[in-house]
């Protein structure tokens, strides 16, 4: 097997990381560009490999909404903001643990270490596990809504309802008194969620989700090149 064929095979292995529709559209021309720039190299370069890996990951996970779809475009970006705020909420909670405990002791001077242990197990540990999961859900919903899945706005609405419920339960348990900073972040998260919901169910967003099936990347390329 010649060196050229081996190099091509190595490039193809990297290009296989891209989504199928992207490969359908670009694999052959990308291969041409990569081989044209390879010179006498026998292996893909380190920087070139890193670039292909990063680009393949970005192509798989990026929000794929045209700017012309203004409301959905903004909603998807807000969902990434939501994921970041969710993690910020966790960080705030962990960084303010000391002041949360101090606030509880101020209210109840007889508060024992065993009771604090119970609070940690009942509230802090579930939050530490739940908030990163919720952040992943925000990203997943951004992905699904960005790709125009019909069900995605409804699932987001259900997710926001759960988030709202969780915030209300925390408030009922006195979170605003004991953990004002984390409650503030939760309030910001809720506002991001409501703004996202309004954008998703805006009149202008309807058509984007209505034509999800026809928007496949591969099919649009086939249309373009037909």
């Amino acid at each position: 097997v010649s060196e050229d064929v081996l190099l091509e095979r190595r490039y193809r292995r990297l290009l296989a990381l891209y989504p199928r529709a992207f490969r359908y559209a670009h694999e052959e021309e990308m291969l041409g560009v990569l081989l044209a720039g390879a010179g006498r190299r026998r292996h893909p370069g380190v920087a070139e490999t890193a670039d292909l890996l990063a680009s393949a990951a970005w192509t798989r996970f990026r929000p794929r909404v045209p700017r012309s779809e203004g409301t959905v475009f903004a909603a998807v970006r807000l969902m990434y903001v939501g994921a970041a705020v969710q993690l910020l909420g966790l960080l705030t909670l962990l960084l303010t643990l000391g002041s949360i405990k101090a606030a509880i002791v101020r209210q109840d001077p007889a508060f024992t270490a065993a009771q604090w242990h119970a609070v940690v197990n009942a509230h802090i540990v579930p939050d530490t596990i739940g908030e990163p999961i919720a952040a992943v859900v925000w990203v997943w919903l951004a992905w699904a809504n960005g790709r125009g899945r019909r069900w995605a706005p409804l699932v987001f609405a259900a997710f926001l309802a759960l988030t709202t419920l969780s915030i209300l339960v925390s408030l009922a348990q006195g979170a605003a008194v004991f953990a004002p900073a984390a409650t503030g972040v939760a309030g910001a998260l809720w506002l991001v969620g409501v703004a996202t919901l309004v954008l998703l169910f805006h009149r202008r967003s309807g058509s984007y989700f209505g034509r999800s099936r026809a928007r496949g990347l591969g099919s649009s390329w086939r249309d373009t090149l037909a």
Binding site: E29, G32, A47, E48, D51, R62, P66, R67
Partner: protein, 106 residues
């Protein structure tokens, strides 16, 4: 707008180009400062095409390989003009302040 995107649009402003042509043109425009790589280029072209700023002009097969030519759309041309205007204003502001600072120190 990211620099790579700006340079790709700039490269296409004078006429349609294929992928490798864009890479060599961007290197020439920036005097070798920016080495655009294939992954970055095609991810950007895909996004620009979705945004309606770039479109496929034509295709040919050279030595058994597909070569696809891209060109700016009208919207792409307008977007590049807006971005160039913005950068020009920034450069003018920076230059005038540097002149002012130079005037104060000499």
């Amino acid at each position: 707008m990211q620099e790579a995107t700006f340079l790709i649009l700039t490269s296409l402003a004078s006429g349609s180009q294929h992928g490798y042509g864009i890479i060599t043109d961007v290197a020439a425009i920036t005097e070798g400062r920016v080495a655009l790589r294939a992954g970055t280029l095609y991810a950007a072209l895909e996004r620009l095409r979705e945004d309606g700023l770039v479109e496929v002009d034509c295709e040919e097969v050279v030595e058994g390989r597909l070569r696809r030519y891209y060109r700016l759309t009208l919207a792409g041309r307008e977007r590049l003009a807006v971005e160039a205007g913005r950068l020009r204003a920034n450069v003018a502001a920076a230059s005038s302040r540097l002149d002012l600072a130079g005037g104060l120190t000499t």
